[in-house]
């Protein structure tokens, strides 16, 4: 099964290298949704996310002959798109700050209760993540959804990996606080 998927993907990549529109369309239809959501989680803004995804696909299709691992088109485009999203955040003067510069929030004890989390609605969790400050949201998105480790995220954002770790835990506490508020007060 896995083998046939990778062969298909390689064929599609080959079609794109040959400039065939069908190849572009099929690769886009296969991965655009996941890539759009990955970018949207980082940007938190649909108009900018749309532009970034379009630009990322254009860049990928233009440079597709340079793709070494042809069975990993998705990972490649996603990386291009996420890099562009982070650059866009930086252009908006967003700083991925070190711990020392951060507010002392969410350091209070919050009970990170697994059972409680699994009772929560996905929409509530989604909203709690979207309401995080930009820096926290980026780290949470990259770690939880893109499966990146702390060193990799640190390199990408230009901050120390211990900062990534502590910000991730603070973000998690903030999410839990928001979810518990929602459960108790319905807000």
């Amino acid at each position: 099964m896995h083998l046939s998927i990778s062969i298909n993907e390689q064929e599609l990549v080959q079609q794109c290298v040959a400039g065939e529109e069908k190849g572009y369309a099929m690769l886009y239809n296969k991965y655009a949704k996941r890539i759009y959501h990955a970018v949207f989680r980082v940007m938190g803004n649909s108009a900018e996310s749309e532009d970034i995804v379009q630009e990322a696909f254009c860049t990928a299709f233009e440079q597709i002959d340079r793709l070494k691992n042809q069975s990993n088109f998705e990972g490649w485009v996603k990386r291009i798109a996420i890099n562009q999203a982070i650059s866009a955040l930086r252009k908006k003067k967003m700083v991925f700050a070190d711990d020392s510069q951060l507010e002392a929030v969410a350091d209070e004890d919050v009970d990170l209760d697994e059972e409680f989390l699994f009772q929560c609605q996905v929409d509530d969790v989604k909203r709690a993540i979207q309401e995080l400050p930009d820096g926290y949201r980026t780290i949470v998105s990259l770690h939880l959804f893109e499966d990146m480790g702390q060193e990799e995220i640190g390199r990408m954002l230009g901050i120390n990996h211990t900062t990534v770790r502590s910000q991730y835990h603070r973000a998690k506490k903030k999410i839990f606080t928001a979810l518990k508020d929602k459960a108790y007060y319905g807000t």
Partner: protein, 263 residues
Amino acid sequence: MERDFFKRYVEEHRDAFENEALPPNMLGNILNKLEERKSVEANLKLEAAPKSRKLTYTWLAVACSLFIVAGAYLFLSQEKNELTATPTQIVSTNNNNVEPAPFSILEEVEPAVKSTNAVKKQRILVAHQPKVDAHKEIYTGLSDSSSVANRMDAIIKASALVVLNEKMKTELCKTFSDDNNDNVRLAALEVLSKFSNDKYIHEQLMAGLSKQKDPIVQLELVKIMGSNSNPETTDKLIAMANNPFTVDAVKEQVHYALLTNNN
């Protein structure tokens, strides 16, 4: 970072986290952009090719032509400086005495300026330059089908305008009516609502009552048009209320508008 139960939650509900539809026509925009870039690249190659061939013919020919061009440029620029010296002086002396409003400058200096037509033209151009550019920027932004952010940016700029000229009205109405992005249409509606007393805009907004399908846009439109007691508007509102595809929240707003109108 160790694998935590938060991550497990995300993995188990991955599909629900990514269930929203993609914005429309993204693939079309990508393919258009690719086409554009390919044609630009091809043009650049075509332009570059003959140049390099000419350069290989003889360096002497190039050096001579450069020399002639530079000489001609120097000669012409010197002549131009002499011609423009007088108007520049007029402009600078008058500017010191003038109030901040740009168009009153033109009236005050008119007697002096009338002496030469060229100077008059130049001053008119200077006075109108920023206005034309701002409008052009908005038109360009609105017609950029490949970027929602550019279109939104153009609408934000248009929202700062106090008066809309005919072209601006047409462009904004076109965006409100035909743009494939709901947020862009909503933003255009917000700008147009400020000018809803204008006959043309009013007609376009009324047409939107039967054309717009997005509930959020419909809600805003009903709020704007609801206070209008024109029989045609009332008919369209009744049609919306009777349409089985109209969502409940919009229907409620329509009913409210119809009730308050009757009062």
